[in-house]
Every structure is written in structure tokens, then in C-alpha cells.
Symmetry: C2
Subunit: 238 residues, 2 copies
Amino acid sequence: MASTISPAAAAAALASIATPTTLVGQHQLYTRIRLATPADVPHIHKLIYQMAVFQNETHLFTATESSLATTLFNSPPFQSFTVFILEVSSNPFKNIHSPAFLPIERTVLVDHVAADPEAETFKSGVVNENDDDDDDVTVAGFVLFVPSYTTFAGKPGFHVEDLLVRECYRRKGFGKMLLSAVAEQAVKMGFKRVEWSVLEWNVNAIKFYEEMGAKVLTEWRVCRLTGDALEAYGDANY
Amino acid sequence: MASTISPAAAAAALASIATPTTLVGQHQLYTRIRLATPADVPHIHKLIYQMAVFQNETHLFTATESSLATTLFNSPPFQSFTVFILEVSSNPFKNIHSPAFLPIERTVLVDHVAADPEAETFKSGVVNENDDDDDDVTVAGFVLFVPSYTTFAGKPGFHVEDLLVRECYRRKGFGKMLLSAVAEQAVKMGFKRVEWSVLEWNVNAIKFYEEMGAKVLTEWRVCRLTGDALEAYGDANY
């Protein structure tokens, strides 16, 4: 009831819109979305594995740190395969040098910060300026995307290949932050489309994507040629 | 009935497997798949428009020759947006210089060559060596594809964005030739996947793709963010 809120508490609540302030029971979390570097490969590799576990497809997981390192960083950012890393910290981030993409920093108030059982494993590998080994920067998720092409518009777009937020950081809006960062970059570059895939039974995800403004194309199906069926085309006599 | 075929005709039919020979009522057609060049832009533009007509989506067609020319040729072939052009001719092709991709030439026997009402419009713009203005090389179709990424494999793939064979050249196996050329290139480059989309009610296309070895992913749906819904993300305060 409004009458039980003191003027001071009301002022604090209003102030928190502009400058988040920790209220009782809430925790302040600093988040940053930045471009991945080769130093992130061990984390990216583990995140992809967690995605394979989540999708019950570990039998399809053959990526190695080496295969990622040799394929992900061969082009300037946004011209081919591009990875954004989501980091979280309980302290403000120190600056990193990233001329191709200004990192997106947000401070969020969360009701509850679950203990991160893999905090050590996912300690961020980025060397900060004036590093004093006192950082608690942790990799919480990633998104991998590639340029696509909208022929009808004669303009590029982005296709989001994969997005994952680690279990203990879910339900905090981080998935939306990663996807929004891709959309924002698309607009900046004059791209006309962002596309991704969703499992048709994942109604929560579909609702969430529709709230973000996306349309689900119900009539289209993806055709995939892989494995031996693809290799057969390597023989010129197919 | 077999008994009505003369030994000479049988020999000719067998010979045609190795070296196609024109039989009664059949026509020999030379085909070539080659990389597109900026000189092909007017044809690519018209082919995309024909696709918009075919899909009843001309209201979405905003591509211009200029938008295609400025976006399609900024990277070496296969590293970003790539276009293969399918040409047909009633005469053997003259050589073209194409170090990045050896053109794929096939001679096909077709039962019937329909008159091409747009032969002049689609006269191929490639200047052949020793050009004597006597060519009848015509652009019959195209495929536009871009690299994608298979995270579980840690390897690239190709996503086929669009494929079109002009009306009077359909039902001759040319669509398969274009798609096979992309698959062959994927294998050559060590890529692990070729994907494309199909309308779920297009049962003939689905049957055809399955015969080519592709699997239709029935559970996945494509989410698309475009137009004003996408532009909204250009405002950092979304």
C-alpha cells in the first residue's frame, strides 16, 4: 500500500531508476557485453558443451578448443563469425581496449544471486588495465552470430547461431540483453534483419521473442545436409 | 519395347552416358556454374525480383542494383555473401579467368528447350576470351549463400539464402546442380553443414531435398526481427 512507504523510501525508489541503488534483499550486479577474443576460447568451448547438454545432444559435440580458435577469429568482427561474451561482476568493470565494439555496460538489481558453482572455471580471462588480481569478473553467457543476406532488400542481416546464459544467471534478463546487443549492432550497421531459430514446443521462449518484436515464421522449415550425405558431394561424380 | 531399338541406337544411347549425344527429339545444352561478378548485378537484381513475384512478395522487394553492387562483392568468395550464376548455351563455353572457383561445366540432354522469352534480357554479361559477339550464353538461374557456423562441431557451414532457376529452364535438374555446387564447395573447404529453408507445404521441394540427402528439421521455427521492431533497438534506451 502506498501509505506505508515513507517519503525517503519513495525518493530512494525513484532515484534507483536513474542510478540503481541496492534495496533490502536486492543485489547490485555489474554486467558487460564485449567482443570475444582468442583468450575466451576455453570458456566458449565449455559454454557450447553446456548447450549440447541442455539440448540433449552431447553425441553431436565434437568442437575442440583448437577448432574454435582456428575458425572464429579469421575476419574482422561482424564480417563473419562473431561472438559476444556476457560478463558479470559485483564490482565496476575496468576499461578494456576494444575499438571495434564499445562494450555495453549495465548495472542490474537482482533479487537473488545464486552461488556460482563454476565461478573459478568461468573466471574471465580478459586482462584488465592495472590488473590487481582482485577481480571477480565471471563469464555468464555468450551469443554467436554471423552475417546473413536479405535478398529482397539487397541488404545484410545477422543470423544468431547460438545463445546461452549459464544456469545460475538465468531469469535475470541476460538473454534479452545479448539478443538486443546483436539487434543494436545490426541497426548501427544498416542491416535489415536479425534471425534465429527456436524449438516449436518452447512456448516460453517464443512468447519472450514475440515480446521482443520478433515474428515466428510458422510456414518455413529448415533443411540440413550434413555428415555422409554432405560428404558424398565431395565426389564430383554425384 | 527393347526389340524396336536398333543396335546402333543402343550403342548411341550407351555412348551418351559418357559423352552426351543428341538423340531424336533431344537437344544438347551446355551448362556452366561460375562465380558472379559485379557485371552480373543487373541479372541478379532481375532474378531476385522474379523470386519475389514467385513468392507473391513484391511488396517486400526494395533491392536496387546499387544496394546489391555495394553489398555483394566486399569479401573474397566464400568468406561472406557469395553468388553462383548458372549459364546455359547451345555452344561450348569459352574459357573465363576464375582462379577462386573453377567453373563447373556439364552438358545435358533435354527433351525440349522452350523458347526463352527473356533471352535478350538475360544474355550473359561475361566477356569471354576472344569474344566474337557470336555467343548465345544466357543466365538461367542463381544461388546466393553465406557461411554459417556449426557450434557443436566448431566448424563453418553454408547457409543457402536463395536459389532460383528461371521458369523456362525448370524441371531439367538445374536446381539440383546449383545446390550440389554449394555442397561440393562446402566439402572442399572442410565445412560440415549446408542449410536452407523450405515452405512446409511445398511437398515436391521437400521430397526433392530429401532425395538429395537433406533432413527437414520439423521441430525448429525461424524467428525474424525486421522493420520498425528491429529499428527500435537502434535506440540505446530500449
